[in-house]
């Protein structure tokens, strides 16, 4: 999912500025834009995580997600892209599923999960997962701390990617704890387009003013 920060042609045409100067203005604006874009995306991710709540979206998920923000801002000589897929894909999210579940034929899932057939049925695993989530003892096994261990294993498997952003963006309403979707991509795109438009307009106006002065 890539969003191009664009739509400045009208502005540029209106000011009738030479193409080299436009390129220079774009370059300056995009250099100044990157730290602001990073801060805006990070703030929106934090807002979305707060909206989800720390039960459904553990606090430990947030920091790696913010660290991955740098990967998604792509600036070229004449283009500016926000590529959310660089944060992580559904396939990468899936690599964090089923930690510790018994595998058919022996052994248990160690992340990243590669789609191995699981021994127990969904009902049994869901019951076990509830014990893990609440840190309870079940069938003589104490699950205290296993949820934190699961979170750590997921983060380790995801590495420098942060596919957990998909849970915030699209939500997860199939099972408890539910996460409602958040307009993350839309808010970021809306805010950054306005910010970059303002920056580019300022740069172009500076060039026009310099030109008019002679």
């Amino acid at each position: 999912m890539r969003f191009e920060i664009s739509g400045f042609e009208k502005l540029i045409n209106k000011l009738s500025i030479a193409s080299e100067e436009v390129e220079q203005a774009f370059k300056t604006a995009s250099t100044e834009f990157t730290p602001q874009a990073r801060a805006t995306i990070a703030a929106t991710l934090v807002k979305a995580a707060a909206n989800a709540g720390d039960e459904a979206f553990p606090l430990a998920y947030i920091e790696p997600m913010l660290a991955a923000v740098d990967n998604i801002i792509i600036t070229g000589p004449t283009e500016l892209l926000i590529d959310f897929e660089q944060l992580g894909t559904p396939e990468e999210l899936q690599e964090g599923y089923h930690y510790g579940a018994k595998i058919e034929g022996g052994g248990q899932v160690d992340l990243p999960y590669g789609g191995e057939p699981l021994k127990n049925d969904t009902e049994q695993r869901y019951e076990a997962w509830q014990r893990v989530f609440h840190g309870e003892t079940w069938h003589g096994i104490n699950y205290a701390g296993v949820w934190n261990e699961t979170i750590a294993a997921r983060l380790d498997a995801w590495g420098d990617k942060a596919p957990q952003w998909l849970l915030l963006q699209y939500g997860q309403t199939e099972f408890d704890p539910i996460i409602y979707p958040y307009p993350l991509v839309e808010e970021v795109t809306f805010d950054l387009t306005a910010i970059f438009d303002g920056m580019l307009r300022l740069e172009l106006n500076l060039i026009a003013a310099k030109f008019n002065k002679g």
Partner: protein, 152 residues
């Protein structure tokens, strides 16, 4: 009944008709997140996402009214192929169709339309469960629409 609910119902009915015309039958439709019903396959769930951004509420034009609406459609299907196929059809629907917003007495109040084609996008998410009986692929479509209410 709030305007948003009129829009949700109108959108659902129009999408149901559109998909039915393309051969998507026996779909179960859900509205909103708080449905008590278990998610079935195949099913389509329509959500209007909440927004607290003032910029998304473009105020009145004369006595008319215009609002931006962010819509998410979740399509739960048996296979990845079917999830991708139905999301493509949902994207076409949003891009091509104007939905008439009606009140319960069938009076037309306005239209719900997507003017920004580039705001339409989709993603296919793999099943959370591996159990073949419960396996469901989730196709998600998101788009920004405008609801335009006529002057009374």
């Amino acid at each position: 009944m709030a305007r948003k609910q009129y829009e949700l119902r109108a959108f659902r009915n129009a999408l149901n008709d559109y998909l039915g015309g393309l051969g998507w039958t026996e779909l179960e439709f859900r509205e909103g997140f708080k449905s008590e019903k278990t998610i079935q396959v195949p099913s389509v769930a329509i959500h209007f996402l909440p927004s607290n951004k003032e910029e998304l509420q473009i105020g009145g034009r004369g006595s008319e009214d215009l609002n931006r609406r962010l819509i998410q459609i979740d399509c739960y299907m048996e296979t990845e192929d079917r999830a991708e196929a139905i999301t493509d059809d949902c994207m076409d629907f949003i891009d091509l169709e104007a939905v008439l917003i009606k009140d319960p007495s069938d009076n037309t109040l306005g239209t719900l339309i997507c003017k920004d084609t580039s705001s339409i996008y989709s993603e296919t998410l793999p099943p959370l469960l591996t159990d073949p009986k419960l396996k469901r692929w989730r196709g998600v479509v998101r788009a920004t629409l405008e609801s335009h209410y006529y002057a009374p």
